[in-house]
Amino acid sequence: EAGVAQSPRYKIIEKRQSVAFWCNPISGHATLYWYQQILGQGPKLLIQFQNNGVVDDSQLPKDRFSAERLKGVDSTLKIQPAKLEDSAVYLCASSWPPGQPLNTEAFFGQGTRLTVV
């Protein structure tokens, strides 16, 4: 079974520039998460989709962060403009929705390490 794919693996940008990350979840997984993990901290949920609908974006800094999952499969996360404190690893994860017979844990991609200078 193919895992969660993310790209790019690394990105270095200057502050005030824009950046976009891409995630392709495991086939059939309706739930998709974007997490931000700052060095030394646990992952913090930015946004959660179920199919192409947003379930939770309460911790997404909406003045600069946006995410979409138009067809309910791939997702992109954008930061515009970036700040120094956005330097982190951005993790995408996917899972079956709860209540389904195949409800499982969330599977994570390798993440994108963003450095804002």
């Binding site: 969660v4 739930t31 998460y33 997490y35 901290q41 646990g42 992952p43 913090k44 949920l45 959660q48 179920q50 379930v55 939770d56 690893v89 993790l91 994860a93 929705p97 709860p98 499982t104 844990e105 969330a106 599977f107 994570f108 991609g109 390798q110 993440g111 390490r113």
Partner: protein, 114 residues
């Protein structure tokens, strides 16, 4: 607001030692508690716990959940240098509208020295 607290935040042991990692939580509409191991980037799944008092084992790792006291422990016996990683605890809770939400703790950084 959901809260997941792990302790200790970091731990340094020698090979062969046994370690116990702790996770306490406060969430509404609890579904499950999950443990992940994070070595480089992607957390990898270890255990999913839904019922109290039932120990889950995988080799030298084991975990148990106490839903009354709202905590879980992860035990690693006969530690090896390859066990060095961040161990993340996450709690899945039923969302208010639909789906579920997954909240992580800060993680425990385990270092196993030869």
């Amino acid at each position: 607001e959901d809260k997941v607290v792990q302790s200790p935040l970091s731990l340094v042991v020698h090979e062969g030692d046994t370690v116990t990692l702790n996770c306490s939580y406060e969430v509404t509409n609890f579904r499950s508690l999950l443990w992940y191991k994070q070595e480089k980037k992607a957390p990898t799944f270890l255990f999913m716990l839904t019922s109290s008092g039932i120990e889950k084992k995988s080799g030298r790792l084991s975990s148990i959940l106490d839903k009354k006291e709202l905590f879980s422990i992860l035990n690693i016996t006969a530690t090896q240098t390859g066990d060095s990683a961040i161990y993340l605890c996450a709690v899945e809770a039923r969302g208010e509208t639909s789906g579920s939400r997954l909240t992580f703790g800060e993680g425990t950084q385990l270092t196993v020295n030869p």
